[in-house]
């Protein structure tokens, strides 16, 4: 029973992390049909920038509570700037090319950033443990949890609600749904699709970097942290149905619980249980849990 409880809580914490990390990827795919491998770079950039910013903040002896704001702002800012530059400077020239070519373009961008990050930050690990330690730990049901992780969960839920609200209850969001549904017709109806694309990519990049920034306090930020995140986020998005925010939430929950169960019950399979889940889900629902089946052309 105790074990079951731990799995549940661990799984939920992992879920919140996965959801924050994947939501940007699934948004970009939903709107632009680009499977963005560079998402891993945004994550890594966010983590590094946040770690440096928090380090500098604490070196300056400012009130400790402000570090959370610094953390989030650093992530969002770097994601926004880099996302804007990549969309405007590179992807813009590629629209209309094959989906696979676009994947490779983002893969190339990812490779470039892997080394760029090493050039800027070096290969030594960065730590930004202060925000994590600041919140301390709390015992729930006899087991200690880091309050920071519980805050992540709250943040993930808020983020999910906000995404739903922004898409379904605001004018810009509704326009975006129209673009997702039919790009050509929405252009014909006078929606500035090109600007929508820029906005989507920038927001997606911000979310990716935010994911990295929020993760940074709990880990040591080292080169190569982006590479694993990509396939994890892929798995989550594919399980949920690429491009669906609700799907990403469900996918993250399934993956989170599956991994927590594996860690506690059968540690040998921990590394690949996620991909096994993905294969099983796709076996029964090829377009993912929330994906729409596409009509085949005759």
């Amino acid at each position: 029973m105790q074990k079951f409880y731990v799995i549940l809580v661990d799984g939920t914490i992992y879920f919140s992390w996965l959801f924050i990390v994947s939501i940007g990827l699934t948004l970009i795919y939903g709107v632009m049909k680009i499977l963005n491998i560079a998402h891993g770079s945004f994550y890594a950039l966010g983590a590094y920038t946040a770690a440096s910013a928090v380090g500098a903040y604490f070196a300056g002896n400012y009130p400790a509570a402000g570090s959370f704001l610094v953390l989030i702002l650093a992530g969002v800012a770097v994601g926004g700037v880099i996302g804007f530059l990549i969309e405007r400077g590179l992807l813009r020239a590629m629209y209309g090319r094959d989906e696979i070519v676009l994947v490779l373009v983002t893969y190339a961008v990812f490779l470039v950033f892997e080394d760029l990050i090493k050039l800027v930050w070096g290969v030594d690990p960065y730590f930004a443990y202060q925000p994590y330690a600041l919140l301390g730990r709390v015992g729930i049901g006899g087991i200690g949890f880091a309050v920071y992780d519980l805050c992540l969960l709250a943040l993930a839920i808020l983020l999910g609600i906000f995404a739903w609200w922004a898409l379904n209850r605001t004018r810009q969001g509704k326009l975006l749904l129209v673009v997702i549904h039919d790009r050509e017709i929405s252009t014909a109806m006078g929606i500035n699709v090109s600007r929508m694309f820029t906005a989507t990519f920038v927001i997606g990049a911000m979310l990716g970097a935010l994911g990295g920034a929020l993760t940074a306090p709990g880990i040591s930020v080292v080169p190569g942290i982006g590479v694993d995140v990509i396939v994890l986020a892929f798995a989550v998005s594919v399980i949920g149905g690429l491009g669906s925010i609700a799907g990403a939430a469900i996918g993250a929950l399934i993956v989170g619980l599956a991994r927590a169960s594996a860690v506690h019950l059968l540690p040998e399979v921990e590394l690949f249980v996620i991909y096994a889940v993905m294969a099983v889900v796709l076996a029964f629902r090829p377009q993912g849990l929330f994906g729409r089946a596409v009509a085949r052309k005759i």
Partner: protein
């Protein structure tokens, strides 16, 4: 109507490459061996791509071939290179045949993602198996060739010969395959799958055959790379390895059967030199090279040749 001179040309290329293997410096022979062995995998990826199957998980069969060769030589004591390569291909064929029943139902991005997931499962298993050296992998003893012992530089050159022979042989076979009924159907499936069904062909069967071919070829390539490097680790099954194969396949474009081989030689050369001279920024160099090709040579490296002499007919 052109006469198809591809097969004689490939035979001539084989003779030429074998002759080169004797005179080229040892490091270049090594580079070419790896390039041709990986080019073999790309050939399979290209054949699959013609039928619309883009695999982001060819590392599964590449890794399977490599680990089969490594395990058989280390635990069963088989040292014959030809047998090891054949076994690598055979194990991949069996796995590809079994998974093909499942994979042939998927298309486009779902096929890509599912193949990625399968290769990552293999990666996870390999990383977790401490008996197989976990992330460090393990070494392979230098192989023998049909009873002959060849080590050091000579061994390298002999292995190069074997790799070139296998690669060109496969290239010839695949060149024939894409002109066979199943191969031609593959292209038709890419254009319009449902009509192919109406015409009375089983799409699933054609895709299954194509998938197994891709698997076998990747297994052969994996075994050859394992023997060449003398060392294997789980990275052979990681998604970045599979991504490279797709990249070279796109870069070389489905114009000519030799294009993927050429593409892989270019790619490996760029990577080797970048790694040698810019050890801290080699990934950046590779990434920028990728972007440059996609931006400035939208129809692939082969278009540099094709532009010179406009040949009719595809592939």
């Amino acid at each position: 109507m052109f006469r198809d001179l591809t097969l004689p040309a490939l035979a001539a290329a084989l003779a030429g490459l074998l002759a080169l293997g004797v005179v080229l410096p040892s490091w270049l022979v090594f580079l070419l061996t790896v390039a041709f062995a990986k080019g073999l995998v790309v050939l399979g990826v290209v054949v699959m791509m013609r039928a619309g199957l883009v695999s982001f998980g060819q590392g599964l069969y590449f890794g399977l071939g490599a680990y089969t060769a490594g395990l058989v030589t280390n635990f069963l004591g088989v040292t014959d290179a030809v047998a090891l390569v054949a076994l690598g291909g055979a194990v991949s064929a069996v796995m590809g045949f079994a998974l093909g029943f499942f994979m042939a139902r998927y298309r486009e991005i779902f096929f890509a993602m599912l193949s990625l997931a399968l290769s990552m499962i293999l990666y996870g298993i390999l990383v977790r198996s401490s008996t197989l050296g976990s992330t460090d992998g393990f070494n392979l003893p230098s192989p023998t060739y049909l009873g002959l012992v060849a080590e050091g530089v000579v061994g390298r050159r002999v292995l190069y010969g074997l790799t070139v022979a296998v690669t060109i042989g496969v290239a010839m076979a695949l060149h024939r395959f894409v002109r066979s009924p199943a191969g031609v159907m593959g292209e038709a499936i890419l254009t319009n799958e449902i009509r192919v069904e109406y015409l009375g062909t089983s799409v699933t069967r054609v895709l299954h055959i194509t998938y197994v071919l891709g698997a076998v070829v990747a297994g052969l390539g994996g075994a050859l790379v394992a023997l060449t490097a003398g060392h294997i680790d789980p990275d052979v099954a990681y998604w970045t390895t599979s991504g490279e194969f797709v990249f070279v396949a796109i870069l070389s474009v489905i114009r000519h059967v030799a294009a993927p081989l050429l593409g892989m030689v270019v790619f490996e050369t760029i990577r080797t030199f970048a790694f040698q001279y810019l050890p801290y920024t080699w990934q950046m160099v590779v990434g920028i090279a990728m972007l440059a090709v996609i931006l400035f040579l939208p129809s692939g490296l082969w278009s540099l040749f094709a532009r010179a002499r406009q040949l009719g007919g595809g592939a």
